[in-house]
C-alpha cells in the first residue's frame, strides 16, 4: 500500500494543478495577432468542434441536476409528465418554504453540521499531530506502527462494522452522536494524507528550528502547520464532505428522529411520502447546496487531496 501511494504521489502530485487554467498564454496571443496560417485556421475549427462536443456532453451529464432543480419548483403532478417539461409552467417557490414545516429540515441540517464540524476538527488536529510524529520524529517502532495504519486502510470498512457496532452497544453509545464522532474522527486516512504531505517538507527546516531552540511542539505549530495549509485544507474539506454525505454511519447508529442527519431525514421522507416528487426534489436540492458551496470555494484543494491520496473515506 505504501508503495502504491508513493507511486501515485510521484505521478500525480508533481503537476500541482490538475485543473490548470485555460487562459491563453502570451505566446498564444502573439500568434492570433499575426495573420492566421491555414494550420491555425484548422486548429480553430477543431476547437469549435471540441467546444460543441463538450457543451452537449456536459449538458447530458448534468441532466440529473437540471431535473432535480426543475422538479423542485413544480407541483407533484407536474414532475413525471409526458412529454417532459424542463421548465416548470408555473414556478412553485412555496416548496422551498413549506419543506421546513413538512419535515424538521432545520434540525437535520443542524445535526449534519454539528457532526461534520466536530469530526473534521478532531480529524485534522489529531491527524496532523500524528503525521508529524510519523514523519519528523525518529523513534523505535514508528514504522511498524505506521504499517498498522496503512494496513487498516486496505481493509474494507464493511468487514469490521459489526465488531464496531458490538463495541458501541457495550459502551451504551448507540443512538448518539458520540458513536459516530468516535468512529470517524480518528481515521487512519487523515494521518496517511497528512504524512504524505509532511514527507515532502525537508527535514532541514525542522533541524534549523531545533537549533534555534524551538521544541518539537513549537516546530509543529510554528513551522509545519503554516507550511501545510494546502494539505490541511484538503483534509478538512474531504472530511467535511464525507461526513456530510455519509449515509451508512448515521443509518446504523442514529435511530431517533431528533438525531437524524440530512441524508437520513431525506431518505425517510422518500420512504414515507414517495409520491411527493416535488418536495423530495426540494429536499435533495437543499441537501446538496452546502456541498456545492464548499466545493466551489475549495475546488483546488479537493482535487489535490483526492489525487494525492487516491482515496476517499
Amino acid at each position: 500500500m505504501t508503495n502504491m501511494a508513493e507511486d501515485l504521489k510521484a505521478t500525480h502530485l508533481k503537476d500541482a494543478a490538475p485543473f490548470p487554467s485555460g487562459a491563453p498564454t502570451a505566446e498564444d496571443r502573439r500568434r492570433t495577432d499575426r495573420k492566421r496560417s491555414p494550420r491555425e485556421q484548422k486548429k480553430r475549427t477543431a476547437n469549435i468542434v471540441i467546444y460543441g462536443v463538450l457543451v452537449v456532453l456536459v449538458a447530458a451529464l448534468m441532466v440529473p441536476f437540471i431535473w432535480m432543480l426543475s422538479s423542485s419548483l413544480k407541483e407533484n403532478n407536474q414532475v413525471l409528465t409526458v412529454p417532459i417539461q424542463w421548465i416548470p409552467s408555473e414556478f412553485v417557490w412555496s416548496n422551498y418554504t413549506d419543506i421546513w414545516t413538512r419535515i424538521p429540515m432545520m434540525g437535520y441540517l443542524q445535526n449534519s453540521l454539528y457532526l461534520a464540524v466536530i469530526i473534521t476538527c478532531l480529524q485534522v488536529l489529531t491527524g496532523s499531530l500524528a503525521a508529524y510524529g510519523f514523519s519528523k520524529v525518529r523513534f523505535p517502532g514508528r514504522d511498524v506502527l505506521f504499517l498498522a495504519y496503512i494496513g487498516t486502510i486496505a481493509v474494507p470498512w464493511q468487514a469490521y462494522m459489526v465488531p464496531q457496532y458490538i463495541m458501541m452497544q457495550q459502551l451504551g453509545l448507540t443512538n448518539s452522536f458520540n458513536a459516530l464522532i468516535l468512529l470517524q474522527a480518528f481515521g487512519a486516512f487523515g494521518v496517511f494524507l497528512m504524512r504524505q504531505y509532511y514527507m515532502t517538507i525537508p527535514d532541514e527546516l525542522c533541524e534549523a528550528a531545533r537549533i534555534d531552540g524551538l521544541s518539537e511542539y513549537g516546530i509543529w505549530a510554528r513551522v509545519i502547520l503554516p507550511l501545510s495549509k494546502p494539505a490541511l485544507a484538503s483534509l478538512a474539506l474531504l472530511t467535511f464532505v464525507n461526513t456530510w454525505n455519509d449515509y451508512m454511519g448515521p443509518f446504523i447508529y442514529l435511530t431517533s428522529n431528533r438525531l437524524w442527519t440530512v441524508q437520513l431525514g431525506l431518505r425517510s421522507f422518500v420512504g414515507q411520502f414517495d409520491a411527493e416528487y416535488a418536495m423530495i426534489m426540494t429536499g435533495s436540492v437543499i441537501s446538496v447546496i452546502p456541498i456545492l458551496i464548499i466545493f466551489l470555494i475549495g475546488q483546488r484543494y479537493f482535487i489535490q487531496g483526492i489525487a494525492t491520496s487516491g482515496m476517499k473515506g
Binding site: P18, F19, T152, Y160, M161, V162, P163
Partner: protein, 308 residues
C-alpha cells in the same frame, strides 16, 4: 555555533546522552501520535482484529461467544443468500469497472487541452462524485421510473417499444444501479487520468508525429503505454470499491426487487447488525476482505511483471 558542534562532533552511538536523547524522542513521538492512536486503536484496529476472531465464533445478541471453528463458513457456503450476494457483487463489478474506466479515459482525453473555460467542464463532470448519495439515488430512481420517467420517454422516442422496468424489474435493477454509479464515479477517475495524461512528455507525441504516426497510432502506442501506472491504480481502486459497494444499493434498491441487487456488504449488515448474528456475519466479512486483498495483490503482481 551549535550547528558546528553537532556536525563536527557526532556523539558516539552508545553514549548515555544519545540513549537519553532516543528515549526523549520516543516520548515526544508518542505524545504526537497518541491522541489519534487511542481512537484508532479502540475503534479501528481492535475491531479489525476482532472481525477475524469473530468469524470463527458463534455469537449472537442472545448467546455468549463460543469457539466453533469453521462452522460459520460451512453454513455460509451452504447458504443461498451468500451465493446470490456474491454473484450480484461480481455482476456489479463487471459492469462498473470497465464502463467507468473507459468513460473516465475518454472524458480525460477530451478535457486534456488548453481551451478557455475548460476548468468549468472539468468541475461540472467531477461534481456528481461529491454529491450526496441519497440525492443521487433519489433523482436517478425518478429518472428511471418505468412509466413516465425521462429515461424511458427518451428510449420510447428513439423507437424502443418495450423499455425496461429498471429498478422495478429484477433483471434491470442491477443495470440501473450500475449506470447510476458509473455516472457518479467517472468524474473522480477522470481527474486521475487527467493527471496521468498531463505527465506524458509532449516530445513523445511530437516524435511520433514526425515518424508519421496517425492519431489512432499515437493513442495506441504513446498514450496507452504512458498511462499504464495510472490505469493500474484506477483498476485497483475501481475493483476494490466495486466489491465494497453498499450505500448506493441500500438507498437505491435496498437489495430488491427480491434479492436481485443484494450485495455482500449488505448481507454483512443484515446478518450482523440487523439480526445480531455477529459470528456468522464476520465470516462473510472475511470473504469480502480476502476478495479485496486478492484483487489488490494480483494486480500488483501483474503490474510488476509488466514493468520487468
Amino acid at each position: 555555533m551549535t550547528t558546528e558542534t553537532i556536525t563536527q562532533a557526532p556523539a558516539p552511538v552508545h553514549s548515555r546522552g544519545n540513549r537519553k536523547q532516543a528515549r526523549r524522542n520516543t516520548l515526544i513521538g508518542w505524545t504526537f501520535i497518541l491522541p489519534n492512536f487511542l481512537g484508532f486503536l479502540a475503534f479501528t484496529l481492535i475491531p479489525v482484529v476482532a472481525a477475524f476472531a469473530l468469524s470463527f465464533m458463534e455469537w449472537t445478541s442472545f448467546s455468549a461467544p463460543k469457539w466453533v471453528g469453521l462452522a460459520n463458513f460451512e453454513r455460509m457456503f451452504a447458504s443461498d443468500s451468500f451465493w446470490i450476494a456474491l454473484r450480484n457483487t461480481l455482476v456489479y463489478a463487471l459492469g462498473h469497472v470497465p464502463l467507468t474506466m473507459a468513460l473516465a479515459l475518454i472524458l480525460a482525453m477530451l478535457l486534456n487541452r488548453k481551451l478557455k473555460g475548460i476548468g468549468f467542464f472539468r468541475v461540472a463532470i467531477f461534481f456528481p462524485y461529491i454529491t450526496s448519495l441519497v440525492a443521487v439515488a433519489v433523482v436517478w430512481n425518478m429518472l428511471f421510473s418505468p412509466d413516465s420517467g425521462p429515461i424511458n420517454q427518451l428510449l420510447g422516442a428513439i423507437g424502443i417499444a418495450n423499455p425496461p422496468g429498471w429498478t422495478s424489474s429484477s433483471d434491470w435493477a442491477m443495470p440501473a444501479v450500475i449506470i447510476t454509479s458509473v455516472w457518479r464515479d467517472m468524474g473522480y477517475y477522470m481527474v486521475l487520468y487527467l493527471a496521468g495524461l498531463q505527465a506524458i512528455p509532449t516530445e513523445l507525441y511530437e516524435a511520433a508525429e514526425v515518424d508519421g504516426a496517425s492519431a489512432w497510432q499515437r493513442f495506441w502506442n504513446v498514450t496507452i503505454p504512458s498511462l499504464r501506472p495510472t490505469t493500474f491504480f484506477v483498476v485497483v481502486m475501481l475493483t476494490v470499491s466495486s466489491f465494497k459497494v453498499f450505500d448506493l444499493i441500500v438507498v437505491m434498491t435496498n437489495g430488491g426487487p427480491g434479492r436481485s441487487t443484494t450485495v455482500l456488504s449488505q448481507l454483512i449488515y443484515q446478518e450482523g447488525i440487523g439480526e445480531g448474528k455477529f459470528g456468522y456475519s464476520s465470516a462473510i466479512s472475511l470473504v469480502l476482505f480476502i476478495i479485496v486483498l486478492t484483487v489488490t495483490v494480483l494486480q500488483f503482481k501483474i503490474q510488476q511483471r509488466r514493468e520487468r
